[in-house]
Every structure is written in structure tokens, then in C-alpha cells.
């Protein structure tokens, strides 16, 4: 996993609330292997009209925000389906940080596992940032993960992130390697548990 220390540059003010993972990537694009890249499907049905043509006024399509590595959204971003393809679509499009007041639970953990930072900001700070980006579309925004700050104009605010997730993102750690360092503990648990809860293993069919 690619480590993330910080990102500076344009921030795309998506501005929508309750962007569910069905919006981030509609189900019909999920049959393809990841190696083909999912970036082109990001927010497909919001971003394009029925003929598949990009809507020029949709924030992600505006030239100033097309390549933004930071996205700003309202509450409950990434709710719904557990599809990790939603994160693949963001990551493959080049987004490295999403700022929102709340995130879908499964989305947030999927994000961290792919090096994408789900940074939680107060609702008031999100509204300030959205207003600032509306006034000045090319306003530079800086996200510093070590300091847990987001800065724009003359403002700097603290964002929240689970400390374990912060370490993982900063270091690009992979969960599976970490977990395997506990192999002995897992084996001990397994053996003791098998004696304690014999019913927990599936019975052979009658």
C-alpha cells in the first residue's frame, strides 16, 4: 500500500450528502477485473447524462477539479453497499483524501486499506470549505496527515481519524503482514476455542 503523508492542491467540492457506494460506482460496472482500472466509472450516473456525455457543470467535470486529489462532501459519504469497488473508483481516479462530516462504516475501512484517507471534519468546517471553494475554485487546500490538519486560505482545522488507521496510512502498512505476526496467538485462540465452543464449527450433514 502506498504511504500517505499529505496532499496539497485543488479540492473538488462534491457538496452532496448521502453519496452511497451505488453512486460512487454503479453495480453494472463491477464485473471487470481491477487491473482494467475503475477510475472512469467514478460517480458515473451523476457525472454523465443518459447518452453517457459528461455534464459540464458537475464539479468533477470542471477542468479546475478534474484531477483533484481531495474531495469534499456532506454527511454519510460512502453509505450502503460494502463494495470496495467504490474505493477503487476513487483511488483509480486519483483521489487520495475525502473530507466529510461522516462516512459509511464499511467504506471508511475499505478506504484505509487502499491508501485513501477518510478525514472527518466538523459539519461547520465542511460548509466553510465548500463556500470557500465556490468563491475561489482554484483555492489551494493542504491536508497534513501527521498533524491531522486541513488548511485553506487563512484557516487551518483539525480533522479526526482513527489513530490506528493514521499509522497504517502514514506507513503504508498492510494488515495481513501485521496479523501474521500474531500467528501464535491466533493458533492458541483457535485451539482453546475449539474446546470451549465445539458447536461453533459446522456439523457434518446428517
Amino acid at each position: 500500500m502506498k504511504p500517505l503523508t499529505g496532499v496539497s492542491g485543488p479540492a473538488c467540492p462534491l457538496g452532496l450528502a448521502g453519496v452511497d457506494t451505488d453512486q460512487l460506482i454503479p453495480a453494472r460496472f463491477m464485473k471487470r477485473p481491477r487491473s482494467e482500472g475503475y477510475g472512469g466509472f467514478l460517480l458515473h450516473d451523476l457525472r454523465r447524462d443518459d447518452a453517457g456525455i459528461e455534464k459540464p457543470d458537475f464539479p468533477l467535470n470542471r477542468p479546475v477539479w478534474r484531477g483533484a486529489e481531495i474531495m469534499v462532501a456532506r454527511r454519510n459519504f460512502g453509505s450502503g453497499s460494502s463494495r470496495e469497488a467504490a474505493v477503487y473508483a476513487l483511488a483509480d481516479h486519483g483521489v487520495r483524501v475525502v473530507l466529510a462530516p461522516t462516512f459509511g462504516d464499511i467504506f471508511a475501512s475499505n478506504a484505509v486499506k487502499n491508501g485513501l484517507l477518510p478525514a472527518v471534519l466538523d459539519e461547520a468546517d465542511i460548509e466553510d470549505l465548500l463556500a470557500a471553494l465556490t468563491a475561489t475554485p482554484d483555492l489551494p487546500v493542504s491536508v497534513d496527515l501527521a498533524e491531522q490538519t486541513v488548511a485553506w486560505g487563512n484557516r487551518a482545522v483539525i480533522f479526526a481519524i482513527d489513530p490506528v488507521w493514521r499509522e497504517q496510512l502514514l506507513n503504508g502498512w498492510d494488515d495481513i503482514d501485521v496479523t501474521r505476526s500474531f500467528a501464535d496467538e491466533i493458533a492458541r485462540f483457535r485451539d482453546a476455542d475449539g474446546a470451549r465452543r465445539p458447536w461453533a464449527r459446522p456439523s457434518a450433514k446428517a
Binding site: 501485521v178 491466533i186 458447536w199 461453533a200
Partner: protein
């Protein structure tokens, strides 16, 4: 410093929730902690893992490492998301055929048992797990599907995970989790006839919001919940995710134990007796403390339908489409205007006057035998004014429904009776609602485009969908049930 030393916890000495009273969730958590980090994150043991066609991303991650699935006996493959509901003998769509082949190849390669497309046990993961006795109280259960919360109806800690977590479980049989806070939602009293689990859960989501239970494990309790069948309990826990929770729970009781007895993979004989003795200790202790408590009165709950594009956009059938102009929050008002524009509705319009183009009865929320019986009891001797699809939750439910003659009631009403799968709930298998059409649906999500690009979805119970099919508009089912069982 290595990752492992950085986060090393105290192996085997998980901080128990103290000697004091514990909730059902505390007990499930404590029984599964392998290692706990000082931060509170814990490595938890996973008892049961389901994989479906969408798991190809995770198997690709496994293949990219050393390729070992450590506990193949605890993992089960079930084809549901992409399986066609018609013409299964020859799958015409090559992309779908490949997804199904991939699941077969991946499970075979790793020695994982598969309930494949032509297996008589095939069906939707969250219907098949319980009916095969793979779902039991006291287990941790995961699947790369957010509706894994369904299995919490048995008193299991069950939750949906992403592809990277699926790979993690395949390779380690564990997951890192942060302990959620505990919420209890109590529903007391007795509901009116025609009001049930789907109305309960939609009422709850409307009350607390689509992110109202975020960060919580939700336990459903109270007289009205205890009176529910296992099917009703599964419907409630299924939609915990729509309230923002990752898992929902209901304490196991005699209803649960009766349901489990005799299921193929469940313990039997003395082993079942021992298991039940253990399961009787699972319910929350009297005086156990919850971080948040919510109470509803069953008698005050009417049949509920959704009008918007989030499950929280739900109101009793007697209400009208809300007016964004009445809101004093500009952001919310804008979101409501967007939702109404997408749904093609105007403020003040009575919900019972909304005309539907088709209906769908199916999904992991509401396609169990009881759900089909509820819909059939409304449809018997009546004709549907609109076309519709009925997809049973599993091949076993399909056979049982046919033995009971329910299929003939659906077909006589003019609806299509098809094979089991996720079908028109997620629109991956080719079944979908055409753009601009309005569908009364027993599913769990009314998101934009969920049932197909441009589709307009109204969520409701199976009986309410049946009522909408008969009248051609959203309808209070209660008068239609008079004189019927």
C-alpha cells in the same frame, strides 16, 4: 519499528467488559478477541465466512500473495449476486457466466464448499446461511456484503466487509475491529394486523436517520420484537446497515432454538443441547448498560413506504410527500428537491396516490417463505394491474412455495415467478427497472439507480407491495386483509 511492535497488544488477555452486567454484544465480542491493541482495536476470530461472485477481487489478492486459505472448512461459497433468475441452463451473458465460473474455480482451488448456481441449496447468501444451519447464535459471521447484518437475528455478531477484509479473513480467519458502542432499540406493545418487521425497521430509520446508528451495534428488544418470527427478525437486522450500523442483534430465545433444530449444518442431539445451554447465557444481562436507548410503541406504527432516495425518506402510507419549502435547513431542502426531482414527485401529493409501473418481491430483506405467504395472502383471488417479478430468497424457499401453491397465486395474479437470486434488488444479473419507471419493492435500498439507471424505487413490506400490485398505486394494505388470514 515494525508494524507488529508498533501495535502489539496483550495476547489472550482481552480487556473484558468487566465483571459487571454485559450486553449481548459485549458477550459476543469478549468470546472472540484474540489480541487487543492499547487503542481498543482487537483482532477477532471469525467463525463463519460466506463468499459470492463479487469475491473475485479478494481471491485475486490471495493469489497475489502465497495463495493459502487457512480455514476452508469455515468458508462457504454461494452464487447469488449475478445468477440469472431465468434461463439458467445456458447463461447467455458472457460476463455473468465468467463471474459464476470464477466463483466455482476459486472455491474449488481452495477446498471451499460451494452452493453453486444449479445446487438445490442455492439462493441468496443471507437466506441460505440460516436455512442450512450455518448461521447460529454466538458466532462471528462475515461476508463481502453489507446485508450480512441479517444473521444478527440469531444472536450472532454478523457484519459486511470489503474485498480487502475478505482476503484478510481467507488468509488469517481473523479481522481487526474497533469495538462499536451499544444501542438498544425497544419496541413494546402489539402491532396492528398488516404491520410487521419491515414497517418497524423503516420507522426506526426514518426516526434516527440513515446514519443514526453509525458506530453502534444495535440490539432490537421488546415485546414486539420477541413476538416476531425468525423471518421478521432477519428483516429487521438486515436493514440495520440502512440505519448506519454495521450489525444488528436480537437475543436468541426458544423461537431461535426451534428454528435451528434439524437444519443440515447445525449441531444435533447432545451437541445441540450443549450449544443451547451455552446460547441461553447470551442475552443481555438485566441492568446491562447501553450507550444509547430508543423506544417505539408498536401500536403507533402504520405501514410505511419510502418517497425519496434514502431509506430515511420513509413515512406512513397515510402521509403526503414532504415539502422542501417547509425546511429551515438549506442543505437538506436542496437534497430533498433533488430527491423529489429524481423520483418525479411533487410536495403535498398523497403517498397513496402515487402510481406504480411495476412491483418486485424478492431480496435478502423479504424473500423468505413467510414473506411470500404474506404477499400471496393479499394477492389470492386478485389481479395485479402492473407487471412484476417474484424471486424467492432461495431455491429451497422456491420449492416450498410451490408445494404450498403460492407460485400459482402469483402467476394467476399476473406476476412472473422466477428462480432465486439478488435479482432486481441490486440490478446486477440483468433484472432491472427501466429508466423513469416506478417500482414498489420489498428490497432494502431506494438509492438512485439501485434497481437500474433512472429507476424509481419505493421500499415497503411484501404485503404492501402486493397491495400496490393490485391497485396500481401505493396502498394501505390493512383494509385489503379484512377477512383474510
Amino acid at each position: 519499528m515494525t508494524a507488529a511492535t508498533m501495535i502489539a497488544g496483550t495476547p489472550g488477555s482481552a480487556s473484558k467488559s468487566g465483571a459487571g452486567p454485559r450486553t449481548l454484544f459485549d458477550k459476543l465480542w469478549d468470546a472472540h478477541v484474540v489480541v487487543e491493541r492499547p487503542s481498543g482495536d482487537a483482532l477477532i476470530w471469525i467463525d463463519r465466512h460466506f463468499v459470492h461472485e463479487g469475491s473475485f477481487h479478494a481471491f485475486a489478492q490471495v493469489a497475489g500473495r502465497d495463495g493459502v486459505v487457512v480455514e476452508p472448512g469455515l468458508t462457504f461459497g454461494i452464487a447469488d449476486h449475478y445468477v440469472p433468475t431465468r434461463g439458467r441452463d445456458h447463461i447467455a451473458n458472457p460476463e455473468i457466466a465468467r463471474m459464476i465460473d470464477d466463483l466455482e474455480a476459486n472455491t474449488a482451488r481452495h477446498g471451499v464448499e460451494l452452493f453453486g448456481v444449479n445446487d438445490p441449496r442455492q439462493g441468496i447468501v443471507h437466506v441460505v446461511g440460516p436455512e442450512q444451519g450455518l448461521t447460529l447464535p454466538g458466532l462471528t459471521m462475515v461476508c463481502g456484503d453489507s446485508h450480512t447484518s441479517t444473521h444478527g437475528a440469531f444472536g450472532a455478531y454478523a457484519f459486511g466487509i470489503g474485498a480487502s477484509e475478505v482476503a484478510h479473513v481467507l488468509m488469517t480467519q481473523t479481522l481487526w475491529q474497533k469495538k462499536p458502542r451499544r444501542m438498544r432499540i425497544t419496541i413494546d406493545g402489539t402491532p396492528a394486523p398488516g404491520v410487521g418487521a419491515k414497517d418497524f425497521i423503516l420507522s426506526i430509520i426514518a426516526k434516527i436517520g440513515a446514519d443514526g446508528a453509525r458506530g453502534y451495534a444495535v440490539e432490537y428488544a421488546g415485546e414486539a420484537v420477541r413476538a416476531l418470527s425468525m423471518a421478521g427478525r432477519m428483516t429487521m437486522c438486515n436493514m440495520s446497515i440502512e440505519a448506519g450500523a454495521r450489525c444488528g442483534l436480537i437475543a436468541p430465545d426458544e423461537t431461535t432454538f426451534r428454528w435451528i433444530a434439524g437444519k443440515p449444518y447445525a449441531p444435533k442431539g447432545a451437541a445441540l443441547e450443549a450449544a443451547i445451554a451455552a446460547w441461553r447465557n447470551l442475552p443481555s444481562d438485566t441492568d446491562a448498560c447501553f450507550d444509547r436507548e430508543i423506544a417505539l410503541e408498536a401500536a403507533a406504527i402504520a405501514p410505511i413506504v419510502t418517497w425519496g432516495t434514502s431509506p430515511e425518506d420513509a413515512l406512513p402510507i397515510g402521509a403526503s410527500v414532504p415539502d422542501p419549502a417547509a425546511l429551515n435547513d438549506d442543505g437538506r431542502a436542496a437534497a430533498m428537491r433533488d430527491a423529489l426531482a429524481y423520483m418525479g414527485l411533487r410536495p403535498g401529493q398523497k403517498l397513496s396516490e402515487i402510481v406504480v409501473d411495476r412491483v418486485f418481491i424478492g431480496s435478502c430483506t423479504n424473500a423468505r417463505i413467510e414473506d411470500l405467504r404474506a404477499a400471496a395472502s393479499v394477492l389470492a383471488g386478485r389481479k395485479a394491474r402492473v407487471p412484476g417479478l417474484v424471486s424467492p430468497g432461495s431455491s429451497q424457499v422456491k420449492r416450498q412455495a410451490e408445494e404450498e401453491g403460492l407460485d400459482r397465486i402469483f402467476i394467476a395474479a399476473g406476476l412472473e415467478w422466477v428462480e432465486s437470486g439478488c435479482s432486481m434488488c441490486v440490478g446486477m444479473n440483468g433484472d432491472s427497472v427501466p429508466s423513469g419507471e416506478r417500482c414498489a419493492s420489498t428490497t432494502n435500498r431506494n438509492f438512485r439507480g439501485r434497481q437500474g439507471p433512472g429507476a424509481r424505487t419505493h421500499l415497503m413490506s411484501p404485503a404492501m407491495v402486493a397491495a400496490a400490485a393490485v391497485t396500481g398505486h401505493l396502498t394501505d394494505v390493512r383494509p385489503m386483509l379484512e377477512g383474510r388470514s
